[in-house]
């Protein structure tokens, strides 16, 4: 192999780690006594969760009227939050599946973490379609269950597609996550000293031994799941976008939505992973695994997807003008200049302008700046959904029915409450499950490659020659 063709990766794991030290680094977190800070964080998260329960309880009691919805604007924060959380939930599966298929080994540092985030984000998202309906107690009619009324759901409805898409997405993501967890659960089982941990981790480890006959099927399964999850992850936000795109409302009825929603989902998902990763790696000392190189790579993806989203925003305007449809033209002008212009420009600044800073390598590798932008991006993506959902409904065809939507305190509490749910689960995850896929990251250590051993079976670290022309990147 010629040294000039090979563009080597920087070492994926920093520091002088061997297999055992990695195991300890990751799994000791689960085996140590619970730190006090964790309890504090948990109290905070649980308080927010309580807010969510109260908000939902009051919603059950009073009806959807407690939200700020009105006649033209039948969907408000609930749907915005739904789309936002589902969007965030795209990062995990994307990192696990698509990067796996593209042989991006750096994914191993963050995939477990991102998948967990995905599952919890999708759980937060799933709350909303369930509770936003007027008669929650009959929401099960959306499922094709045999009944004495002899009536079935309407499979022509994008909302029903949503039920299947998000349901499938959650199930497959969960399976994917769990399959990945099994070898690591076995690791903890084998390291645990108390009976309770041995039992609980043992049950979920399913008797995993590390057999290479098992690994053989396991890898096959993992690859198939990745192959399935890749179109799935693209389909989910595509179908979520169908809720809007298949409708007839100007500003919704547009074919650009599927790619633009998927790009936006990746955009916001990576931002959320970064937000969480930057905090977690600091607290749990995982900087050797979740390195600045990872952060930079993710920032590049944020830059790319952010620009895609920005391109989509502009293309919407172009198409609105080019279509010659007066309602279409009006809605986009109104977005930028109408009653919701403040939301529109918030979105533009957060989503299109802020990622452009990542053209600078220095800023890409700046932890604090990245943290800041990752939050800005998620604010921007929330506003994107706000702009799409609300502004189109508020000013559609008949000027007579135009009306302004403003949320109530219950809209806000429900949204805030979902963070309680999210962080409660996330804290439980950090505490009880390995936050890094240990088995996978071991496999990408140079020690794992039999080729890196000499004839005496001694480890020889591979020599990496970085060509001059490439060196400046690292």
């Amino acid at each position: 192999m010629s040294k000039y063709e090979y563009v080597p990766e920087p070492a994926l794991v920093k520091g002088n780690h061997d297999f055992a030290s990695l195991t300890r680094l990751v799994t000791d977190v689960n085996l140590r006594p619970t730190p006090k800070g964790w309890y504090l964080a948990m109290i905070g998260a649980n308080s927010l969760l309580l807010v969510l329960l109260v908000a939902i309880g009051y919603l059950f009691w009073e009806g959807t009227g407690i939200w700020g919805l009105n006649n033209p604007v039948g969907w408000g924060w609930a749907i915005i939050n739904f789309v936002w959380w589902v969007g965030i939930g795209h990062a995990g599966t994307l990192i696990s599946a698509i990067l796996f298929l593209f042989r991006q080994d750096w994914r191993t540092a963050i995939n477990r973490f991102a998948e967990a985030m995905t599952i919890f984000a999708v759980m937060c998202a799933l709350i909303f379609p369930g509770i936003h309906v007027g008669r929650i107690w009959v929401a099960y009619w959306m499922f094709p269950l045999p009944n004495q009324m002899d009536i079935w759901p309407n499979f022509n409805s994008p909302l029903l597609w949503d039920v299947f898409a998000v349901g499938t997405y959650f199930t497959v993501s969960f399976l994917f996550w769990y399959v990945g967890l099994v070898p690591d659960l076995a690791t903890i089982r084998d390291r645990a000293t108390d009976k309770f941990r041995k039992w609980t981790y043992g049950i979920f480890a399913l008797g995993w031994t590390g057999s290479n006959r098992h690994w053989w099927n396991y890898e096959k399964s993992y690859m198939i799941l990745a192959g399935l999850a890749t179109p799935l992850v693209l389909s989910v936000h595509t179908i979520v976008s169908f809720d809007f795109a298949v409708s007839i409302i100007p500003g919704w009825h547009t074919t650009i939505f599927p790619p633009y929603f998927v790009a936006g989902a990746i955009f916001s998902g990576f931002a959320m992973v970064l937000t969480l990763m930057i905090v977690a790696r600091k607290i749990y000392g995982m900087k050797d695994i979740m390195t600045d190189d990872h952060m930079e790579k993710m920032n590049i993806i944020i830059l790319v997807t952010g620009s895609m989203v920005g391109f989509a925003y502009m293309m919407e305007f172009f198409i609105a003008w080019y279509s010659g449809v007066e309602y279409e033209k009006a809605i986009f002008l109104l977005r930028a200049t109408g009653p919701y212009a403040w939301a529109y420009w918030t979105m533009m600044i957060c989503n299109v302008v802020s990622p452009q800073f990542f053209w600078s390598k220095k800023l890409r590798r700046n932890v604090y700046f990245t943290f800041f932008i990752s939050i800005v991006v998620n604010i921007g993506m929330w506003f994107e959904r706000f702009v799409i959902t609300v502004s189109s409904l508020a000013t559609d065809y008949l000027p007579s029915s135009w009306d302004y939507y403003s949320p109530t305190i219950w809209d806000a509490l429900t949204y805030i409450g979902t963070f309680g749910l999210f962080f409660t689960f996330f804290l439980l995850f950090l505490r009880f499950l390995p936050m890094v896929a240990v088995a996978e990251i071991k496999a990408v250590l140079p020690q794992a490659d039999p080729h890196n051993y000499d004839d005496n079976d001694e480890y020889q670290a591979p020599e990496v020659e970085v060509p001059e022309s490439q060196a400046r990147f690292y």
Binding site: N147, Q148, M149, D150, R189, K198, W199, G202, G207
Partner: protein, 214 residues
């Protein structure tokens, strides 16, 4: 290293799996049967304030349904007869019967007899008797063999699926309009005759929602 789990635990997952399958079936069947009007509603036979026997009046005395339920061909309701109707005969016969005390009281005071409703549709289901009997849906098709009932009970589930059975294939159930009040009506060539009647009476039983719900 000690084993965490004893050997028999290797059998447990399989047992759990079988258990879940069995349980699911039980749940599905349970809901399907016990939560259906077939179970909850059929056979409802409340005790009425006046122990009126349809068996006696219809089967033995041979009264036609319409003698009492006079409006059935004209109205959405097959009316419960006014006390007056009872008194037409019971002025003369059984005038001292204890069972009829309430009827006489009602007649004297003008206050209504509080019959207990047996056949009850949900309020959002709009059922019109006249629309059905005028095209040959027999009384017994929905109410069963009233002439055999000492105490009236609900014979059919009156669920939406049950309604649709007939609305989808009326030819299986319709009869000539003259036979509507006949009890125990049966013909051998029901399908053939039914098809003729469907054509003759121009029956297009609605299966769209607004046929019944509005």
């Amino acid at each position: 290293m000690a084993q965490i789990f004893p050997k028999w635990t290797n059998q447990v997952p399989r047992k759990i799996l079988i258990g879940i399958i069995v349980l699911l079936n039980v749940v599905v069947f349970g809901i399907w049967y016990f939560f259906s009007p077939e179970y909850t509603d059929v056979g409802y036979a409340p005790e009425q304030p006046v122990p009126y026997s349809h068996k006696l009046h219809v089967d033995q005395l041979g009264l036609d349904c319409q003698y009492c339920h006079t409006d059935v061909f004209e109205s959405k309701q097959a009316n419960i007869p006014a006390t007056q109707t009872c008194m037409n005969c019971h002025n003369i016969i059984q005038t001292e019967s204890e069972n009829l005390a309430l009827v006489r009281e009602s007649w004297e005071t003008g206050e209504a007899i509080e019959w207990i409703r047996v056949h009850n549709l949900p309020d959002y289901a709009y059922f019109n008797h006249s629309a059905h009997v005028n095209v040959g849906v027999g009384c017994e098709s929905c109410h069963g063999r009233i002439d055999k009932m000492e105490v009236v009970y609900q014979e059919e589930p009156l669920s939406m699926g049950w309604c649709l059975d007939c609305h989808r294939e009326p030819e299986k159930y319709v009869r000539p309009v003259e036979e509507v009040t006949t009890m125990g009506y049966q013909v051998e060539n029901q399908l053939e005759l039914g098809k003729e009647l469907v054509d003759k009476n121009n029956i297009h039983a609605p299966t769209y929602c607004q046929g019944c719900h509005y």
